[in-house]
Subunit: 300 residues, 2 copies
């Protein structure tokens, strides 16, 4: 019988996934990776941040399924066996959640909600006039599946949206820039949203050099990966005022360590990697479907 | 020469309006109400919360222009001369601002941002799974110009939106309820947005009886008028948990008095009547146009 091995660092979350996938895949044995006794029997691995060498220990694995839209948490495994396909998980719920998160945090910055909240703390009635959305420039770094969806959502809310990607692929109603246009893209971006995949080229892209090219007082939202951001450069830019605030959903080490300076920084909002959470109910369905489809494609 | 008298309680704001309107209406004399020496010469009054009897003191006034979408701040003047037309000010910027505010605060509640912010205060990594917008029911009380625009914006963000109005006028993609449907409307509303005009019928509508008909733990956003809300009933409902949080942008007394309990209530977000601020730049243009149009209509 086909064995589907599941691995996630969070044990509670792991049990939740194993149970849901077992219901969705009644013809297979769904096991937590630690409960696998016959390594040869594993033909699918469903993982988030699998331990180094784990996949290599399952010689007959046909495909690895990422519990998420990114695959960097799998490919960073130095022992990952070459030639094994990796299947991303992207579904309408994840796109919907990302759209919600980006709309929320762009609007929160646009309407200066942190300032209003500070006024409330001081019981101070202080009206702030903000420009309307058509007079606010939002820049999306990374125009993949999520980038495009978020750009269109922000455009529909009335914002003036630009998108940057290596290829500069055109999207209706969005001004797009390619590799050569990065400076021009940054020069007009008041609120920058990072939705890039993590690759050798994008690692550390949110650094001092990039921040300097934004207008003074720009705001940054990072929902890509922690490794996109050079932490010390952000702290320096917040100190100088070049960046006025940041929202961070992803971190080099997750969970973000208890003593990390980001937690208590008054200009940083920390959210615990929730922008586009994938749950075993809707996400499990997509994964089960993808396994079935991969199987059928392999047979035919 | 035609005199346009301007009255606002905030003196700084008053000067701003007088200056902008003077530029926009070069053929008229634009004066702060206190600077009017010839009461007979005033033919237009541009006002926010005019003092009782002020309008009655200008016998030749042709129309009163509200600096805002509501007119209750004018009609509450017991000495307001009958038969004088009142012109509301509604323009694309005000509608845009209201859409932004409602989208922001609905998303903030939907994504449990206040909980995430509390977690950050405790340096605690605590992921919260929230339903996607199509599984969240938003109810809009009042389907006038702003109510409709906000309902459509929320629908486009993916929410399940219902609207309530006396007549129950149909709006594409929105489930609408009329007078008879108030209970059914409330029973399914997780986040309630009040966008009603203030009238004898709607005054005090946000009261204990209404709160009880919402699902337990519902959230309330009031951008109508302070008088829509029975303050003690909200405090009691927050205490019992029947209402879990509220955002209030309008108050019976504005600015909200320094010692008011709302300022420091941990389940209440106070914003200083900024949802749909009208500024003399775009708002002044609309008012100047409306005065010109009224003049032409009176002549012909």
């Amino acid at each position: 019988v086909s064995v589907v091995a599941v691995s996630l660092p969070n044990q509670e979350r792991l049990a939740w996934w194993v149970n849901h996938l077992a219901e969705l895949l009644p013809d297979r044995r769904v096991l937590a990776a630690n409960d696998v006794t016959d390594a040869d029997a594993v033909d699918y691995a469903v993982v988030w941040m699998p331990p180094t060498g784990m996949i290599a220990g399952w010689p007959n694995v046909k495909a690895v399924i990422s519990i998420g839209a990114g695959i960097d948490h799998i490919t960073c495994d130095k022992e990952f066996p070459s030639g094994v396909p990796i299947i991303k998980t992207i579904g309408p719920d994840m796109t919907q959640r990302m759209r919600e998160y980006i709309a929320l945090h762009v609007l929160r910055f646009h309407r200066e909600l942190p300032d209003l909240e500070r006024s409330q703390k001081n019981s101070t009635w202080e009206q702030v006039f903000t420009p309307t959305a058509p007079n606010r420039n939002i820049g999306i770094l990374g125009m993949g599946h999520f980038g495009k969806a978020c750009a269109l959502t922000l455009r529909d809310l009335g914002f003036n949206v630009s998108g940057w990607s290596r290829s500069g692929t055109a999207v209706a109603g969005i001004e797009t820039y390619n590799s050569d246009g990065l400076e021009a893209f940054l020069a007009q971006t008041e609120i920058l949203v990072c939705l890039l995949p993590l690759t050798d080229e994008t690692s550390g892209i949110l650094n001092a050099k990039l921040f300097e090219k934004l207008p003074a007082g720009a705001k940054v939202i990072n929902v890509g990966r922690g490794q996109h951001l050079v932490e010390q450069d952000l702290l320096a830019a917040l100190e100088s005022g070049q960046i006025s605030s940041a929202v961070l959903d992803v971190f080099t080490t997750e969970p973000l360590p208890k003593d990390h300076v980001f937690w208590t920084h008054e200009k940083i909002t920390v959210t615990p990697h929730v922008a586009s959470l994938i749950d075993p109910i809707s996400g499990g369905k997509i994964i089960a479907d993808n396994i079935g489809e991969f199987d059928r494609a392999s047979i035919s």
